[in-house]
């Protein structure tokens, strides 16, 4: 045995030391491998890649000079064209000159622009604890105050109106706390009644309070709201109002009580069956017939009512999906623990069902925010309405389509893409939590 070993040691071709690892072939490593696998793996793929490259080049070569050769300082489209002198280039000057109109509309008082801006910034502070589980919890009270603060900032007027509105909610909550021990229904309806009584009484006190402590901002009527601000107002208000209504409708649709069930079914199916534009027509020309004569309900409020109804029907369907996706065992377990219907819903069913329906709800919210542009059809001056109406009709800027619509599209894209990315992030968060 050892003999053969010795022989082996003698043989010239036996290597005694290991060779260093060779680098992989050029075609099988790094960027070349990636290119081969992802872009040029077959003839068809190569063709597809070339076509795509051509398409990208075609789009970029058409748009890039136009974007970067743009004119920022001019007073009219004519001046833009003079400056460009035949070269391709955008006339961004329109955005520069009409910037405030695009954001706030024509009639919002210019010295109050800081108010909606502040409300917009504070919106993120208020939303942070709701949207991000890691945000500090002690921001939650601010979230509760925010709707009233935002109303005061955007609409102005006496500070006592939103304060009293908030106080009504506090009163309702206190009544609820006292009565809920007896039964949920008692607490719920008692709270609503108490809040209503408080609000009707506070209407008498508010003028006196305003006279004593006149904390006021310049009041801005709703018809002066416009531009992107109007889209944001409609979007946030309608989504937040439609969430509770939608949940209630979904529960109603799942209910055992036939009358309540059928009221909800008919409402949901009717709203989902007609386009939003017909509902806006209702808000614009029909709703006035169904309100008491000589009542002054301004257009923005009527539009908010109709869009909220629209959104809540869609949210109801999403939540219903969430409710249906829960295993039956959850309902039975809740019943086995001796929980009654409101307790089971609040403690067991809804938290899980809502978690499942978050992506759907976010989709509805994004869709609704995009649909707020439809109000331009009924002569409200939101971002699209501003562009189509006052700006494109003006003698200076008649004909600046691409720049304005590109700007509007970019604004909406940033907001909607941001929200949908957030929803995907949240979905991932919730998934890991469940495992």
């Amino acid at each position: 045995m050892s003999d053969t070993h010795a022989q082996a040691a003698q043989l010239a071709f036996v290597r005694t030391e290991t060779i260093p690892p060779a680098p992989p072939p050029v075609a099988e490593a790094g960027i070349v491998k990636w290119l081969r696998e992802n872009l040029f793996s077959s003839v068809g793929n190569t063709l597809l890649t070339l076509v795509s490259l051509w398409a990208i080049w075609w789009v970029l070569s058409a748009t890039m000079p136009w974007i970067f050769n743009g004119v920022w300082n001019a007073d009219s489209l004519r001046e833009c064209r003079e400056i460009l002198d035949g070269a391709t280039g955008a006339c961004w000057a329109v955005i520069r000159e009409r910037w405030t109109q695009l954001l706030f509309g024509v009639t919002y008082p210019a010295d109050s622009y800081w108010r909606p801006t502040l409300a917009f910034v504070l919106l993120f502070v208020a939303l942070a604890p709701v949207l991000f589980p890691k945000a500090p919890r002690n921001l939650l009270p601010f979230t509760a105050i925010y709707p009233f603060l935002a109303y005061f900032l955007v609409w102005g007027g006496s500070v006592w109106v939103p304060v009293m509105a908030a106080a009504g909610f506090v009163v309702g909550y206190l009544v609820f706390q006292r009565l809920v021990a007896q039964s949920f229904a008692m607490g719920f309806f008692g709270a609503i009644a108490a809040a209503l009584v408080f609000w009707s009484l506070s209407g008498l006190v508010t003028p006196t309070l305003t006279a004593i402590a006149p904390v006021t901002l310049e009041a801005v009527p709703s018809r002066d709201m416009g531009g992107f601000m109007l889209n944001l107002i409609l979007g946030t208000v309608c989504v937040s109002l439609s969430l509770p209504i939608g949940i209630a409708l979904a529960l109603g649709r799942q209910s055992d009580m036939p009358i309540i069930k059928w009221i909800c079914v008919i409402f949901i199916e009717f709203i989902r069956g007609v386009p939003l534009i017909t509902l806006l027509f209702v808000a614009n020309v029909v709703l006035a017939y169904f309100l008491p004569p000589n009542s002054t309900f301004d257009l923005i409020l009527r539009v908010i009512i109709m869009i909220t109804m629209f959104a809540s029907a869609y949210i109801a369907e999403v939540v219903r999906g969430g409710l249906a996706a829960l295993p039956k065992g959850q309902y039975e377990a809740a019943a086995a623990l001796g929980l009654d219907y409101p307790q089971a819903m609040r403690l067991i069913i809804l938290p899980q069902a809502l978690k499942i329906s978050i992506p759907g709800i976010v989709n509805v919210a994004v869709g609704l925010f995009k649909d707020t542009t439809l109000v331009s059809v009924i002569a409200m001056f939101d971002l699209v309405g501003m562009i189509r109406g006052p700006i494109l009709a003006s003698t200076e800027w008649n004909g600046v389509y691409w720049e304005l619509f590109g700007f509007a599209a970019a604004l909406f894209f940033v907001v909607c893409y941001g929200i949908s990315q957030y929803s995907q992030w949240l979905e991932r968060q919730l998934q890991t939590e469940r495992r």
């Binding site: 872009l39 793996s41 017909t278 029909v286 599209a409 909406f412």
Partner: protein, 406 residues
Amino acid sequence: MASVTDPEPPRESFRLSMLLNDTRYRGYTFQFIALLLLILFMAYLGWNLVRNLVDQGQDISFEFMGQPASYDINQRLIPYDSQDTHLRAAFVGVLNTLLVAFLGCVTATVLGVLAGVLRLSKNWLVAKLMAFYVEIFRNVPVLIWILIIFFVMTAALPAPSAFRGDDPDSSMLFGAFAFTNRGVYVPRPIWEAGSAIVVAVFLASLVAVFAYRRYATKLLYDTGRLLPMGWPSLAILIVPTLLAFFALGQPISLEYPELRGFNFQDGIQVRGSLIALWFALAIYTGAFIAENVRAGIMSVSHGQTEAAAALGLRPRRIMSLVILPQALRVVIPPVISQYLNLTKNSSLAIAVGYMDVTGTLGGITLNQTGRAIESVMLLMLFYLVISLTISAVMNLYNNAVKLKER
């Protein structure tokens, strides 16, 4: 021995408080209250309506639908002039809505399926490009897309006069299509005597194609014999129609648009508003359909592909026999509701002046007659009927393809 009998359960007499505290009766109480509130609310609205109508000296009547509309509709499928009634104007609008919805659905499906499949492509660049398309179009309001395309159609395209002269600035595509700022002019087919036979032959061959494919499938399942599907279908579809067409002396010809005077004459004028609406709805909805298609294909587990391959199926057969039937079950319901959304979104036609039912009945008729309640009610009814029809079809389909479990 004393027999043990169940003690008679204590019989509780009905008390009024049980209506609220006893779960057996509470449901009735709530339903009664809800119904009462609803009736009160409706009565309140109705009372307001009556008072408002009396105040303004109006009434609810649909007589205006029979009166002359006295406005023109520039894009129509059926004959109409301004002396026709509002009812006919509304009907022209309905047809226009259905036209743009049909065109939009077909185009959106093609775009959506293409983008959805390509987004799953192994080609990195193509996949990213399609993701870009989907995100860009999904996240911007469809109204903005409609307006952008509309302004391109009306502001960026040349006027008809640019086509004039020996060396015109613009020329017609293939000598048949003219893209102008007044719309696109396309050739009009002229139906002469005998054309009905050609059309009938074409329809018959359509039926024949389906019959052949059915027969081939049945043969495959019964005997395992595989007949070719692709080229015989194509041949059955085309050859008899072509034969009939030439045998009858070419009864169908095309009338090309021609520049005469200030405008194009002959041919069919497709307004820029229709094209803007059609394309915008198609690319917008296409982006959503692409996501549905992608989700559907991804929902078929990889094990299915591998199992089919293990059975010895070829890649194309795996696709058509294993993946697609399973994916389609997931894809079709959301796609149908996208069709529904597209149809409802087509009401945005009013923003670009395309005379769909919202533009005629809900637009000019409403403004001319002041019959807001009646017009909006009819408008809603129309859309409601369409929606309910489509969801009925969807339910039928869902029941047909539902997994038959146990």
